[in-house]
Symmetry: C2
Subunit: 197 residues, 2 copies
Amino acid sequence: MRALILDTAREMFAADGYEAVTMRRIAERIEYSPTAIYFHFKDKDALIRELCEHDFLVLAQKFASIARIADPVEKLRRTGHLYVQFGLENPNHYRVMFMTPHPKIDPAGSALRHGNPEEDAYAFLKSIVAQGIEQELFRRELRDVELITQTIWAGVHGVISLQIAKHNDQWVEWWPLEDRADLMIDTLIDGLTRKGK
Amino acid sequence: MRALILDTAREMFAADGYEAVTMRRIAERIEYSPTAIYFHFKDKDALIRELCEHDFLVLAQKFASIARIADPVEKLRRTGHLYVQFGLENPNHYRVMFMTPHPKIDPAGSALRHGNPEEDAYAFLKSIVAQGIEQELFRRELRDVELITQTIWAGVHGVISLQIAKHNDQWVEWWPLEDRADLMIDTLIDGLTRKGK
DNA sequence: AAATGTAACTTAACGGCGTTAAGTTACGAA
DNA sequence: TTCGTAACTTAACGCCGTTAAGTTACATTT
């Protein structure tokens, strides 16, 4: 039953976004009363959060194939592209996951183990950066793993989130997303890494 | 009356965000019936859009003082910081302006003249980039003004939008915003500009 | 000065939303 | 066979955006 609700909600959510997921519409689709859902989920927010929690895991697992690559720069590049791809393929998920402020998150309520690179995409990126620091890849003054990680994340997030929020805005003559993502990733790597020999 | 509605809405919006602005609450505050607002604005979306259109102008005018600076790199740096500052001071505005997809925008409905650097912050940034290209500041392969502009914008937007959406997320140990903004701007400039002499 | 037109409102309602209180059913355990 | 409780339903509350229909007030015209 829980699964039925989640699956239905996920489908509606992926197709038409947050506002498509109404308790009443889910109920109609699964042929139960709206109240039935509240027996399995505290409220709509809990439902959506559970949907997205799953997708955080999906994202992290998408990165798994990258882990075996040796070169951290290549790793960074691939991670960036996969991240952009994820956002483009799941814009509605991406919006809730990364573009919407959530009042507060109870860390105990999450099944994900934060910090584990296999379940936590941020931790995965951080592990690449840590490897890069070890290999003296980054500029000398850049010593903090978090700061570098957050900057790389912000750069790529900027590209994909502008794409999602503004891609059909007449205002800007958008260059193709792929090129923008490429340039962002290259620029970040170039700007963050140590020059010369 | 129009102004009264807008001012009230703006105040509520700045204080508590989008969901605080309900037609009914605005009406209550100005002591009119909810229907009265519809005489002056087509719907809620039109109201919010008018609010934000004003803020696009405010943002562009914030940049005015930068125009007189000669060095494009310094211009870029200052523009970036002002942009971050704007986002941090007006997170609710920023969300609607840059983090929320809007179904479609009727370009005729806007009073702003797109492309004019004094009224259009994107055009302003573009003009700096154009100057940089003229001075052969950027790497040789970077020939397109739009692409460079969009990449710089995306980078800074990434920093501020992650801050707004995720700053109270326990998951990540956020480095101070200023440092993240600094590093992003420095990294972009370093990565995009031509090296050596 | 009276009639008219219309701009600027109000009242009342519609349909939708998230959510909850109270009632019902079905079924496994004692 | 009784009982308890898990899994539901019905009905309602109070919000929301929006609209149809009615009212007021006032400027313009005759």
